[in-house]
């Protein structure tokens, strides 16, 4: 990580020396840095790489500028990004050196305004850059093909060079050096973070500043920039060319590094371009970048070397020696079969789009194939296709059955080099436990929730795709197994795969069961779920056949155990064909993971994980994404300011302007489901779930409820979240409430005759859970809101900025009208004193509680949609 940061920082700064228009030509440099950078993160102890980096560093520092080396050792504080990255590496290079380089470049930028000799300088830099690869043995191999790609890029984006230079001259004239000097100090300062960079990128009209920030992006941590990816891409699509030019190198660089990032960009670019007129010239700009990424020209330059560097990773992944291409029957089948037995034959059809090869199937294990994006895109497409088809079915029951059967077909294509973009770790999807999938409640669309079994891996791009394990975990092939000389050469691999999987070891009996004779009784199957809990029941342990003494048990005990066990099982919801998701969501996550793991053929692998995702088809999730960003920003603000407000931003993946995926909130059911299933008031439900008023469990749950309620009340107020019926408010097992569905925020609200006029939804039921109007908890609630508002106000810019940038070129309903940003700003009440704010909070709470419209709206929802 640090190595990348450092390297690209140096590279990036080098680029600043050029007039912005030439940045296009110089894409070569960030990308060439990627040749070396790519190899760094994967090698844990890349001492050779880092030493070569340091060599390079020296070159950088000494050759272009004649500054004495003693000054580089000066005590000026390192850039925060760099110091962050340095934590884990030994100090081969001084952070100051890098900072120095940065400084020089900036100075040069200023100098540049006057004289026009940078061209010569540039070539020097280029040479420096060019000098890197030979020092990195792996990097050299990959260089030539990449250059050719770059050429194409240039053709794609850059206009003809003469024109570019003219423009650059004009820009130079506009630049004002005095302004830049204080800017420079800011940019160098510790405080300069991604948020500020984005803000300057958005606000500054100075090409130099834009270009600087564009390069500076390379120095930020990936996660930091990733958060603002929607903003960056929206700017790229909708703003001036200069901004786009500044952003592009970074995007291209990151796309080279990661397939996941590439796809994110593809999807976001597609989604944010969708609001434009086709005729718009800028439209083609986003679309063009999208096409470049899709065409897969942005291959990782270091992939070869990376793969070679990690031959060991294979061992930990596949339980068997079998390759994915596979197995026995194929091996046995003669040549004539090779074409016929492709597993794709029964794959659900996915519409193939024109920009990709329809022949390449999901399971291509070969990373060398040009379509490194294809498997994942196909995977997502099949998921969307399922959603589309489900929407046509009339009843929930049919939808559920259909979903299960569609997913079981999808399973045939797995494992494959596909992943869930909402996850935080690298993995391959190996199986979709299709029977666990549920259709969610929605009137006309068919969003559905699936659980996905994945195997964590080092890198989704280079780690080998796990081998398929058949559903039934082949244990015995019965009578055939003992037949002598049956001439199956392929029997050995099966046995091999069998023994390498630890779970199977106990199944030896099963292999021969049929052949031993008639009176074989079934051996307790060791790998089933029951074995571990068997011992806790006396009955089972007694059953052993050795005991000859008659054993007596009381009938009363059996009856008692039965009722006890039923009482002990956590309150689960009844199965309701009209609301299939209620049961699935109510089941505690850990319980579900355990259950699915036991039933899965991959469950025994140590890197097995369970993920879940909601697939939404026909819904625009861009607003949800915006809400996620705002929520995350506020969450980090509150954490920073130590305000114990609790909110749960859930991840959103925008795939197009009408489809996407949502990371489900685990262990949470909607208030509607709670009320419908339990037929209790919210307070009584709390008492039932957590225990009496004075129990610790209840008090904890109550505190959680208050903290989350305060958090979401603020969110609802600031973002003007509407459509707050009980189906859109979740309650998790710890007592937190979580608002979902941000379809109506800011300037948009459902056309519902002016319901929901209050600042947020606060029903008397909520107040009851908080212990009533006079309770301490209720006061705590109001105090939390006040603290939260003050904290949010302090960092208002960070919040506004997210929304403001996304407004560019957007036709989303939440930006309807011209006053969206102004009213948003007003809701932060910058002009009020803290006392006045306190009064405001009191007013809002009072108003919301007394609000008739909230009740009316709930009633309206109950009548129209059956939501309680």
């Amino acid at each position: 990580m640090s190595a990348i940061g450092r390297l690209s920082l140096v590279m990036g700064d080098t680029d600043v020396a050029f007039p912005p228009s030439q940045v296009e030509d110089l894409q070569l440099s960030p990308s060439s840095s990627s040749a070396s950078a790519v190899s760094c993160p994967s090698s844990p102890s890349s001492s050779s790489t880092s030493s070569s980096c340091s060599d390079h560093q020296h070159l950088q520092c000494t050759s272009p500028s004649s500054s004495d080396s003693s000054s580089t050792r000066g005590c000026s504080p390192p850039l925060d990004v760099i110091s962050e990255g340095y934590g884990e590496l030994d100090f081969v290079i001084d952070p100051e050196m890098a900072q120095k380089a940065c400084q020089e470049v900036l100075q040069k930028l200023q100098r540049q305004q006057g004289d026009s000799e940078p061209i010569g300088d540039n070539t020097d830099h280029r040479l420096d850059n060019g000098a890197i690869p030979p020092e990195l043995p792996e990097g050299g191999n990959c260089k030539p093909p990449k250059i050719s790609e770059e050429d194409e890029d240039e053709e794609d984006v850059g206009e003809d060079p003469p024109c570019g230079t003219v423009r650059s001259v004009q820009r130079k004239q506009k630049n004002d050096s005095s302004k830049q000097s204080w800017l420079l100090r800011l940019f160098e300062s510790k405080l300069f973070d991604v948020s500020m960079a984005i803000s300057y990128l958005y606000n500054s009209k100075e090409p130099g500043v834009q270009a600087y920030i564009g390069n500076r992006l390379f120095s930020f941590r990936h996660e930091g920039v990733d958060f603002y990816l929607p903003q960056l891409l929206n700017m790229y699509v909708h703003m001036d060319e200069e901004v786009g030019d500044a952003i592009k190198p970074y995007i291209v660089h990151r796309c080279r590094q990661s397939v996941g990032f590439s796809l994110q960009c593809v999807w976001l670019l597609g989604a944010y371009s969708s609001d434009m007129h086709i005729s718009a010239q800028r439209h083609s700009r986003g679309a063009r970048l999208r096409k470049v990424i899709l065409s897969d020209e942005l291959k990782p330059s270091g992939s070869h070397t990376r793969r070679e560097a990690h031959p060991s990773s294979e061992a930990c992944l596949s339980p068997s020696k079998r390759t994915h291409q596979r197995s026995k029957s194929d091996a046995m089948l003669s040549v004539s079969l090779s074409s016929g037995l492709k597993r794709t034959a029964s794959n659900p059809k996915v519409e193939s789009s024109q920009d990709e090869d329809p022949n390449s199937s999901c399971e291509s294990t070969d990373t060398e194939t040009p379509a490194r994006l294809t498997p994942q895109r196909e995977f997502i497409k099949s998921l969307m296709g399922i959603g589309k088809r489900l929407a046509t079915l009339p009843t929930k029951e049919q939808k559920t059955q259909r979903l299960i059967s569609e997913l079981s077909l999808l399973n045939h294509k797995l494992p494959a080099r596909v992943w869930l973009p909402t996850a935080t770790f690298e993995h391959h999807v190996v199986r979709v436990p299709h029977t666990q999938a549920v259709v969610l409640n929605s009137k006309d669309k068919a969003p559905y929730l699936i659980y996905v079994e994945v195997l964590e891996c080092e890198s989704l791009e280079t780690s080998p795709v796990p081998a398929r394990i058949p559903e039934t975990r082949i244990r015995s092939t019965r009578s055939a197994e003992n037949l002598p000389d049956c001439g199956i050469t392929a029997a050995e691999p099966r046995v091999a795969s069998f023994t390498t999987v630890p779970n199977y070891d106990n199944d030896d009996e099963a292999w021969s069961v049929d052949d031993i004779g008639d009176l074989q009784v079934e051996f307790p199957e060791v790998h089933t779920s029951s074995c571990d809990n068997i011992s806790q029941f006396s009955v089972d342990s007694i059953t052993s056949q050795e005991s000859k003494e008659p054993i007596f048990i009381a009938a009363g005990d059996i009856r008692r155990r039965l009722s006890e066990q039923l009482a002990h099982t956590p309150t689960s919801f009844r199965r309701d064909p009209e609301d299939p998701s209620a049961v699935a969501l109510k089941e505690p996550w850990q319980e579900k993971v355990r259950r699915i793991r036991e039933a899965s053929p991959y469950g025994h692998l140590p890197n097995w994980r369970l993920l879940s995702v909601i697939v939404k088809c026909g819904d625009d999730l861009r607003q949800e994404l915006l809400a996620f960003q705002v929520l995350s920003q506020l969450q980090s603000i509150w954490i920073q300011e130590r305000v114990p407000l609790w909110i749960k931003p859930y991840k959103i993946l925008v795939i197009s302007s009408d489809s996407g995926m949502i990371e489900p909130v685990v262990n949470a059911v909607s208030l509607h489901q709670v009320k419908k299933q339990s037929q209790l008031s919210l307070l009584d439900y709390f008492l039932q779930e957590h225990g009496g008023y004075t129990t610790e469990a209840f008090l904890t749950a109550q505190r959680n409820f208050v903290q989350s309620c305060a958090g979401y009340c603020l969110i609802c107020y600031l973002l003007q979240v509407k459509d707050r019926h009980n189906g859109n408010i979740l309650l998790d097992s710890e007592g937190h409430i979580i608002h979902i569905d941000f379809g109506f925020i800011l300037s948009s609200s459902p056309r519902n005759l002016g319901f929901e006029t209050s600042a947020f939804k606060l029903t008397s039921e909520f107040v009851d859970v908080m212990g009533g109007l006079d309770g301490d908890m209720f006061n705590y609630y109001k105090m939390l809101m006040l603290q939260g508002l003050i904290a949010a106000r302090k960092h208002m810019e960070k919040v506004i900025q997210i929304v403001e940038i996304m407004q560019q070129g957007s036709h989303l309903p939440c930006f309807h009208g011209s006053s969206t940003i102004r009213t948003l700003k007003e809701r932060f009440h910058m002009n009020l004193t803290e006392e006045q704010l306190q009064v405001l909070v009191e007013q809002m709470v009072d108003g919301s509680m007394r609000s008739l419209t909230t009740k009316l709206y709930d009633g309206f929802q109950y009548l129209t949609n059956g939501i309680m």
């Binding site: 029957s329 089948l333 004539s336 079969l337 016929g340 037995l341 597993r343 034959a345 059809k349 046509t392 079915l393 009339p394 029951e397 049919q398 299960i404 059967s405 079981s408 077909l409 045939h412 029977t435 666990q436 999938a437 058949p470 039934t472 082949i474 015995s476 019965r478 009578s479 055939a480 037949l483 000389d485 049956c486 001439g487 099966r494 069961v513 049929d514 008639d518 009176l519 009784v521 079934e522 199957e525 089933t528 029951s530 809990n533 009955v539 059953t543 008659p550 054993i551 048990i553 009381a554 009938a555 009363g556 059996i558 009856r559 155990r561 039965l562 066990q565 039923l566 699935a584 039933a599």
Partner: protein, 689 residues
């Protein structure tokens, strides 16, 4: 050449009643049946022969009419005919290939009809000669394999299958068909798999492929190493297995559909009004009409797949849309004579596309559901031999399924719930359940329903003891799984208890007649032990505490039956005789049930006495039961949750041998009809050339 064919055809048609004029091909056949080498005078004889349209009737008839000595005389000519047929298979000219295939079919069938009694060795000698047999058969199998795997027309492939089916069914007892040794050596298994894995070819030939496979698997199954068994058992390619599952599923649901149609026909209109009026008098008649021939070959294929291949279990649960809808007949259908129902490949175009069709009215179904429905129909009537063996096979398959861990896991999966409309025998004392009222439940409920249905509907004089034992064993295996995995199935167990108690009652009342034929104690023991499972392990799998109370209620209510059973087994076990041992086992097994009866009966009586009630209501009895558990002690019995695993050998060998024999006969009968009709289809080739 086409002209000649046409002319011959015309001539034959016009003079159908008279002795047919001799076509050229017939003259050539005569030459072959002569003593001379036909190629001696005409070196292009064989070449010409395969350009000529085959006259199957003549060729077969001629072979049939020869007796042993005559055949030996012309053996050389027949050998060279066979040899040349095989050579012609490699020809570019499709017409030659077609004619060669048909000639081979005729040869095989003709030879078969001639020597019904003799073994395969004679046939080999006659057709190929012992010395060359291995070489010839290798060539034949190789070219058939090439035809099947290659990019040939469907009718050609279909003919290849016909030929293979002819080959396999040359003898009644497949294991005596020595020619198959060569088919074992030169495997066409891979070709069959390829046909099954590839959707269009599966639709055309899936049925034949599956039947062929199942016959080959049964060749000398118990005596030697059959490579087809070995290979089938390790197939793990989902596409192929799925393809096989679809073929089976389609054949079974075609049967279900036909049955349903007939049933509706029988019940519709006037007839239903009539039966309603007169009552159930005529139901038996209606029954007769509804019988549709069962398809044992497909059922056996399902069995072999489930039994041999563990991966196939997943296919059972593979969803696909229900195929109850009448599909339009396939291309070949219009010209085909209507073959016996259930034995012809059903028209298979529903699942042509890998994409599931998007009809909201279609219920999703799967192979298991189709199979359960099929079983429910077959089990309704076990009077005739075929249906009895079909029902038996169904129960064997269910036994295999109930033993399988994975199958159990999806049977009990709450999320995989379906509405399964089982066919129930119309009976006087109960109404037909409305289809719609069925809730969607886990599949195991349907299996249990089917078993309960079987138990209540077969208590007759001609008692199917074997089927009853299997049926109770299936229930036992399912409950063992539930106990082991602590699955609390929401099932109305009471229906099962009632059915089982009634079964015991039936056994008691027909003790003397049944005991003459069967060991009724074995069945009684199984039933009593099922109750013991519920009594001692009920806490692990019953859905609610009150269901445990209900169990006691039911036992106490029907205590008379258990008392009588106890008396009977006590009596038999105290006498010496062959039933002493089994009867005493039942006596021991009854211990807990008797303890329950002896414990609660006095309590209930005293409760009635104290409260001055003559007839206690169910709630009152349940109350007594609930309040008196604690003073009751039960004995834990050993091995209640253990069972004997199913094994084909040696118990079922005879059954399967007989079954395969009847399938062989059926297939042969069928091939003869369809091969001829294929003739018409093959006109396409005469125009190609």
């Amino acid at each position: 050449m086409a002209q000649v064919d046409k002319k011959a055809g015309l001539l034959r048609k016009s003079s159908a009643s008279r002795k047919p004029l001799k076509e050229k091909v017939v003259l050539m056949y005569d030459e072959i049946f002569g003593l001379e080498d036909p190629a001696k005078n005409n070196p292009r004889f064989w070449e010409e022969l395969f350009l000529m349209k085959v006259n199957l009737e003549y060729l077969e008839g001629k072979l049939e009419s020869l007796d042993g000595d005559e055949v030996m005389k012309i053996k050389d000519n027949i050998n060279s005919l066979f040899h040349n047929c095989i050579q012609a298979l490699a020809e570019e000219h499709q017409i030659k290939v077609v004619n060669a295939l048909q000639t081979l079919c005729a040869l095989l069938r003709g030879v078969h009809q001639r020597n019904k009694s003799t073994s395969g060795f004679d046939i080999i000698n006659m057709l190929m000669g012992f010395d060359k047999a291995e070489l010839r058969m290798k060539a034949l199998m190789e070219s058939l394999d090439a035809q099947l795997c290659g990019d040939r027309s469907h009718s050609l492939k279909s003919l290849c299958f016909k030929l293979l089916l002819c080959l396999v069914t040359v003898t009644d007892n497949i294991s005596q068909n020595t020619i198959l040794e060569y088919v074992m050596i030169n495997s066409i298994f891979e070709a069959i798999l390829q046909i099954l894995s590839h959707t269009p070819s599966r639709i055309q030939h899936g049925y034949d492929a599956v039947v062929l496979l199942v016959l080959l698997v049964n060749y000398r199954k118990y005596e030697s190493v059959n490579p087809y068994i070995v290979k089938l058992s390790i197939v793990d390619d989902e596409t192929t297995l799925n393809g096989m599952g679809l073929v089976i599923s389609q054949a079974l649901s075609e049967y279900n559909r036909q049955y349903k149609d007939k049933e509706e026909e029988a019940q519709g209109g006037f007839f239903s009004a009539f039966t309603n009026m007169v009552g159930s008098m005529f139901i038996a008649d209606a029954e007769e009409k509804i019988t549709v021939h069962t398809n044992e070959a497909i059922l056996l294929a399902l069995y072999e797949a489930v039994h041999l291949n563990r991966n196939f279990i997943t296919v059972l649960a593979q969803s696909h849309p229900e195929i109850d809808i009448v599909s339009t007949p396939s291309v070949a259908a219009p010209t085909m004579p209507i073959a016996p129902l259930g034995t012809t490949p059903p028209s298979l175009d529903m699942l042509a596309s890998p994409e599931l069709p998007l009809d909201p009215n279609l219920q999703t179904s799967n192979l298991l559901i189709t199979f359960l429905k099929y079983s429910s129909i077959v089990m309704q009537d076990t009077k005739d031999e075929h249906r009895l063996s079909s029902a038996k096979l169904c129960l064997i398959i269910l036994t295999c399924i109930a033993e399988d861990q994975y199958a159990n896991s999806f049977l009990h999966d709450d999320n995989m719930s379906f509405r399964v409309n089982l066919h129930r025998m119309p009976m006087r004392h109960r109404k037909k359940l409305a289809d719609k009222s069925l809730p969607s439940r886990p599949l195991v409920c349907a299996v249990l329903d089917l078993m309960v249905e079987f138990i209540v509907s077969h208590m007759m004089k001609d008692f199917p003891m074997d089927l009853y034992v299997r049926c109770v064993q299936v229930i036992h295996k399912l409950i063992c799984y539930q106990k082991k995995c602590r699955i609390r199935l929401h099932y109305t167990w009471r229906e099962l208890w009632t059915a089982l108690i009634n079964l015991l009652k039936f056994l008691l009342s027909h003790e003397t007649t049944l005991l003459a034929k069967y060991n009724i104690f074995n069945l009684a023991l199984l039933v009593v032990n099922l109750f013991n499972m519920f009594i001692t392990y009920g806490d692990t799998f019953l859905p609610t505490p009150s269901s445990y109370d209900e169990l006691y209620y039911e036992i106490v209510r029907m205590h008379q039956v258990f008392d009588n059973l106890y008396c009977m087994v006590l009596r038999v076990s105290t006498n010496t005789g062959q039933w002493k041992e089994p009867a005493s086992k039942v006596t021991h097994a009854l211990g807990n049930i008797r303890a329950i009866i002896n414990h609660f009966n006095p309590k209930i009586e005293s409760f009635a006495a104290v409260n001055h009630i003559s007839q206690l209501s169910e709630d009152q009895v349940l109350e007594v039961v609930r309040s008196n558990y604690d003073t009751l002690t039960l004995k834990l019995q050993d091995g209640l949750d253990q069972y004997e695993r199913y094994s084909e050998q040696p118990k079922e060998v005879a059954f399967f041998k007989e079954l395969v024999r009847s399938i062989s006969l059926n297939v042969r009968k069928n091939v003869s009809l369809t091969t001829l009709s294929q003739d018409v289809l093959l006109k396409e080739f005469s125009t190609i050339s």
